[in-house]
Each structure stands twice: as C-alpha cells, then as structure tokens.
Symmetry: C2
Subunit: 155 residues, 2 copies
C-alpha cells in the first residue's frame, strides 16, 4: 500500500541517444481494468511479474498497491484478461542521487520517450539531466493506461 508521487517529462531523443545509458529491459504491460478512478495493471519484465492497482491521480500523487506475481501468471493474465497492451524498453538510472525511469515506447507508441522521477513530496527539488525536456505530469494523454488505448501514433 502506499502513494506514489511522480513527475513526468518528455525526453529529447537526440540528447538521450548520446547519454550514457544502462541496459534497458523489455516491459510488456496491459490493463485488466481502466476507468477514471482506478486501473488494474499487469506487467511482465524479463525477470518478474507484477499486479498493480492504482487510484486516481491528484496532482502528482496516486494511491498504489503493487504485488509481485509469478511470471507465467503475469503472462497468462495478459493473454486472457488484458483489455489492451503496450510495450516499452525501461531504463533505470541515478542522476544526482535521484532515480529516473526512462521509457522508450514500442509498437503504436514508437517515437515517444518519457522520463519519470519518483519524489517524496510534490515540492521536492531535483536537478534535471540534459535530456529532460517539457514536463507532462498533468497531461493525461501520457498516462500509460491512455497510451494503451490511444497510442502516440494516433494523436
């Protein structure tokens, strides 16, 4: 149980390509439920499966309940129950003592690169890596749930 406080930014592709990057991981994720008040997500990474329930976003804050589940079950849940799916390459890196997650989207969202930073409070300060561009925290189009049903190549 908990809350996540995240801010989200577009990533400048040129700067990002030139940056020193960790190895990325392929994420497959889909939604069992998508409504404005809650989402239920299944995620399959190269080494783990997760089932995650999230509440409505208010500002940069959101209730989140995440459970690790067996990988074969994550795969079966996606196959049997997901309304829609997306996939992406996830990079996780530390910059000035803060953890950033950078997602290079694939498929119908190809061309979109987004970076998120998890914070302890909404007003916590942090330094921006050079590849960070416009903030899109408040733009619902960039929610992964919405990218699943209305992908970037249809905007």
């Amino acid at each position: 149980m908990g809350q996540e406080i995240e801010r989200k930014f577009l990533v400048n592709a040129t700067q990002w390509q030139q940056a020193e990057k960790p190895v990325g991981e392929h994420y497959r994720q889909g939604y069992l439920l998508l409504d404005p008040h809650k989402t239920i997500r299944v995620r399959l990474t190269p080494t783990k499966g997760f089932l995650t329930i999230k509440g409505k976003t208010t500002g940069a804050t959101r209730a989140e309940f995440e459970y690790e589940i067996p990988m074969d079950e994550a795969s079966a849940l996606l196959d049997q129950f997901a309304i829609a799916e997306l996939s992406k390459i996830r990079y996780t890196l530390t910059y000035k003592d803060k953890v950033w997650e950078i997602d290079e989207f694939l498929g119908d969202n190809a061309g979109l690169i987004v970076a998120e930073i998890e914070l302890k409070s909404e007003d916590e300060s942090f330094e921006r890596p050079v590849w960070v561009s416009e903030e899109v925290t408040a733009d619902a189009r960039y929610y992964n749930a919405n990218l699943t049903t209305m992908p970037y190549n249809k905007w």
Copy 2:
C-alpha cells in the same frame, strides 16, 4: 494460476443447525471489477487478505489466479475501490475425505446458506452430507459476484 472445479448446493438450514460444525470465520469481500468475462475480488478474513482474478465459468470450471496480500491493504482496497461488498460466515469441514465450504451469508443475503465442494474433475463422485440440498452450480444468481449486486433479499 489454475482452474477451480466447484459444485455448489443449497444448504438445509434446519439440518445444518443440527450438524457438528467447526468455528466459522467472518469474510468480508468486494469486487474491483465485475463483468461477464472476469471478476477481480478482494477478500478479508480474520487472518489473511487475498486478491483474486477469476475468468468466466464454463460448466463447473473456472480459471483462477489468487494472491495473498497484507490484511491492511485488503481493507484499504475494499474501502477505496470496491464496487460492492458482501459478508458471510465461512465454515470449512471435511466429509468423507472431501473438503466442503459452507457460507452463511449476512446483511442483504441473510437467510441464504450455500455449500461448495472443490473437485479434481467435473465428473468426480462424492458423498453428500445430510444438510446438502438442491444443486445450484449452474445458477448464476448464486455467484458471489451476483449476490453482491443483486442480493438474496431482493430476489
């Protein structure tokens, strides 16, 4: 991951009251998602919490994915996200080497007592305790999901 094969029966209240019973446990459960193809249930018992995803029932068989979760999280998920809830007293007992689960429903479903037996195959034979009455496996009104939204006292 797995399948559950269950048969469900009404329970004769008089016979059941006279039977030797184990101590019952209060179950609180609600649904985060209710649709004909899948349900997502949160259950809180006196000692555990569960998050359970079930597929469509075909005959007496149903895909089921169940995860134990912390009790405080089960409670919070019910409070924040459940569409509807029900509660019941669950008794679990063994009769002739088979496990039966008997549910005495509470609240808007008070007066309803249902017994389920979990089987290894749809045609597995078993002996019926004296308090077992009419079979209702195929009657969707008795699904807990449906009892939540259309309780027994409204039939």
